[in-house]
């Protein structure tokens, strides 16, 4: 099942909504979600409000996304983390690469 996405009105911001589990099983869906129809996108928001479970492959996927879009996308944000998921992002020092709000 593909992931929910939302574009801002001017098409510059793309929000991707992850599901309860964010792990290697989402590799294809996640890549599609950030790479399809992203010509106008300069800012990406990863909404983790549903996400309870996350592992290092998810972290890898996030970094991969950032690498592959670094030419066009200037801002990467991770929003609405559950407290425990936030802890994992902090342990992995993701606040250095992503704006976590």
């Amino acid at each position: 099942m593909s992931l929910d996405r939302e574009f801002s009105e001017d098409g510059s911001e793309l929000t991707i909504f992850l599901e309860e589990k964010f792990d290697f099983g989402k590799v294809q869906d996640f890549r599609l979600a950030y790479s399809e129809g992203n010509e106008t996108v300069t800012s990406i928001v990863i909404n983790l409000q549903k996400t309870e479970y996350m592992d290092s492959s998810a972290l890898g996927m996030l970094l991969n996304m950032q690498k592959s879009l670094s030419d066009t996308v200037k801002s990467f944000k991770i929003t609405h983390c559950r407290p425990q998921v936030l802890k994992i992002l902090q342990i992995a020092r993701f606040d250095k690469k992503f704006l976590i709000v």
Binding site: E52, D55, L59, N64, T79, H80, K87, K97
Partner: protein, 548 residues
């Protein structure tokens, strides 16, 4: 229709009974004097009495008084049959409680008509009496039921005392039962949740939905679920339970353990106001969703607003019962009205708001339930919602063969078994990360012999997962054994995962600080989350201790 004929004259009685038979009244009794009449009446409970006045021993007037007393609340028609024709005697007939009189010798037609008329009234009276009895019965039954329900509600919906330090609140129902709902609960991660809501209508019918909502809310709070999931679950529950014309406007609020970060899901409630220390309204959390219990799950949207408060900021929530208050001029208070009060007096507490509301209402009667809640941002110390840890050492072993490995992803299942069994909801995400890393290492590097180096480039990253799938689908003989042992004394989980692979070289761990590499972070994460991590047996066995 049972008729009692009282006359000391045998002939008179005979004539009357005969006349009654002709009119179709066959259930007749006779008494030759007053005493007999009263005794008989006690036994047979007549519907109508034909009564002579002049009798030896006890006269008709006395008999009438006593018979009326016996009849109680139900109308017992008494018709005097009398040879007396002076005005005084006739008047007395009615004064002592008689209902009519007929002169002797009686006119059959007139008497029969009078009997019919009084019988009608008697039947009416009996019916009213029965109905009254039923009404009283129902009223008592309802009162009793209300008492029981009130008791249940008071217990189910009481707000835990440990929150009163952080939350100032008041619920003010318009009738015995409250269509408004306020519940608060701690989360397992040290934060707290609360819910303010308003069912359509008020009174018992609207209060009844509060029970399932509160049960679901408490259960989900214990597990530390997201507001999104809570809103979805409550919506689903109410959709199933409530009739179509009833729904539940509600705002769900989660305060993080810092006491500053607030998440809000508002469906159909008045805007929640955020007031800074100077009293300025710095943010309004407007209703962004439809009330709960209306939308089907595929139409339902649950996105949540997040805000970072400063200590001392106040989050003010209220039900529309206060917004829609009308003053003597019929003018509604509105959100603006409440904001004006808060601006004029920045530290106005809930009691102050309620007093203001009373003042505003003037002589008018309040129509709806009123609820006001104020949360003041501050460090949360006392709230926790940890399950009671078991004292029994517990060990779970999962032996997976190739078939299981191919067809399932056991990690989430295992996490939910462990967290449910040991009430460890506060750590379920961390536990997942640890188990997922260890299991995937055992599977990918142990059993499937994949090399992480592949993941170095973007395309390699995906090639790796493709290869993983291919190798997995052709897997024939393999085993992975996961054991998790709960150590009550250390308050820890000892987890061991063993795989049947050839063993893999202890990979050089990339530092967590190295954010350039999109792989190799797994074991470092596990090390951060666990007290100890040890690989033995050529990397086929890993043992970790996870502190709870």
């Amino acid at each position: 229709m049972r008729i009692l004929v009282v006359d000391d004259d045998t002939l008179s009685r005979f004539l009357l009974v005969h006349m009654l038979e002709q009119q179709g009244y066959l259930d007749t009794f006779e008494a030759e004097d007053g005493m007999v009449a009263i005794e008989l009446a006690k036994r047979i409970k007549p519907d109508l009495v034909l009564l002579d006045i002049v009798m030896p021993e006890m006269d008709g007037f006395e008999v009438a008084t006593q018979l009326k007393k016996l009849a109680g609340d139900i109308y017992l028609p008494i018709i005097f049959i009398t040879a007396l024709d002076d005005e005084k005697s006739l008047a007395r007939c009615l004064e002592v409680g008689g209902d009519d009189f007929v002169a002797k010798p009686f006119d059959k037609v007139i008497l029969a008509a009078k009997i019919r008329a009084h019988v009608r009234t008697r039947l009416l009276s009996k019916k009213t009496f029965e109905q009254n009895k039923q009404l009283t019965f129902y009223r008592n039954a309802i009162e009793r039921e209300h008492k029981i329900v009130e008791h249940i509600f008071a217990n189910a919906l009481s707000v835990n005392k440990s929150f009163t330090r952080y939350l100032d609140y008041c619920l003010n129902p318009a009738s015995d039962f409250n269509g408004d709902l306020f519940i608060a609960s701690a989360s397992p991660t040290g934060g707290m949740y609360f819910l303010i809501g308003d069912f359509t209508g008020h009174g018992l019918a609207s209060a009844i939905g509060a029970l399932p909502v509160s049960q679901a809310f408490q259960a989900m709070s214990r597990k530390g679920l997201s507001l999104m999931e809570m809103a979805e679950t409550i919506n689903q529950t109410l959709l199933m339970l409530l009739p179509d014309d009833m729904f539940f406007a509600a705002a769900l609020v989660e305060i993080s353990h810092t006491g500053k970060q607030v998440d809000i899901w508002n469906g159909g409630m008045p805007s929640l106001l955020l007031q800074d220390q100077n009293g300025k309204i710095v943010k309004r959390f407007d209703s962004r969703h439809m009330a709960l219990g209306i939308l089907e799950s595929h139409e339902f949207e649950a996105d949540v607003e997040r805000y970072e408060m400063q200590f001392g900021d106040r989050l003010v929530a209220f039900s529309d019962g206060i917004v829609e208050l009308e003053n003597d001029e019929g003018q509604m208070l509105g959100n603006e009205g409440i904001e004006t009060w808060l601006l004029a007096q920045p530290n106005m507490n809930v009691e102050g708001i309620i007093d203001k509301a009373k003042e505003y209402l003037g002589s008018r009667q309040r129509k709806d339930d009123v609820t006001v809640i104020i949360f003041t941002s501050q460090p949360l110390e006392q709230v926790t919602n940890k399950g009671v840890a078991s004292k029994i050492p517990l060990k779970m072993v999962l032996e997976l063969d190739a078939k299981h490995i191919k067809s399932s992803d056991p990690v989430v299942d295992l996490v939910s078994v462990i967290t449910n069994q040991l009430s460890l909801y506060g750590v379920h995400s961390e536990l997942f990360t640890v188990l997922s890393e260890l299991y995937n290492n055992a599977l990918e590097h142990g059993v499937l012999e994949l090399d992480s180096e592949l993941k170095q480039s973007d395309s390699g990253f995906f090639a790796y997962f493709k290869l993983r799938e291919e190798k997995l689908s052709s897997l024939e003989a393999a085993s992975i054994v996961i054991s998790a042992e709960y150590l009550p004394d250390e308050n820890a989980l000892a987890i061991q995962i063993k795989d049947s692979g050839k063993g893999f070289k202890q990979q050089h761990m990339s530092e967590l600080e190295n954010l350039e590499k999109s792989y190799g972070r797994g074991i470092s994460l596990v090390k951060e989350l666990c007290e100890s991590v040890e690989y033995t047996n050529k990397g086929n066995t890993v043992d970790v201790v996870f502190k709870i």
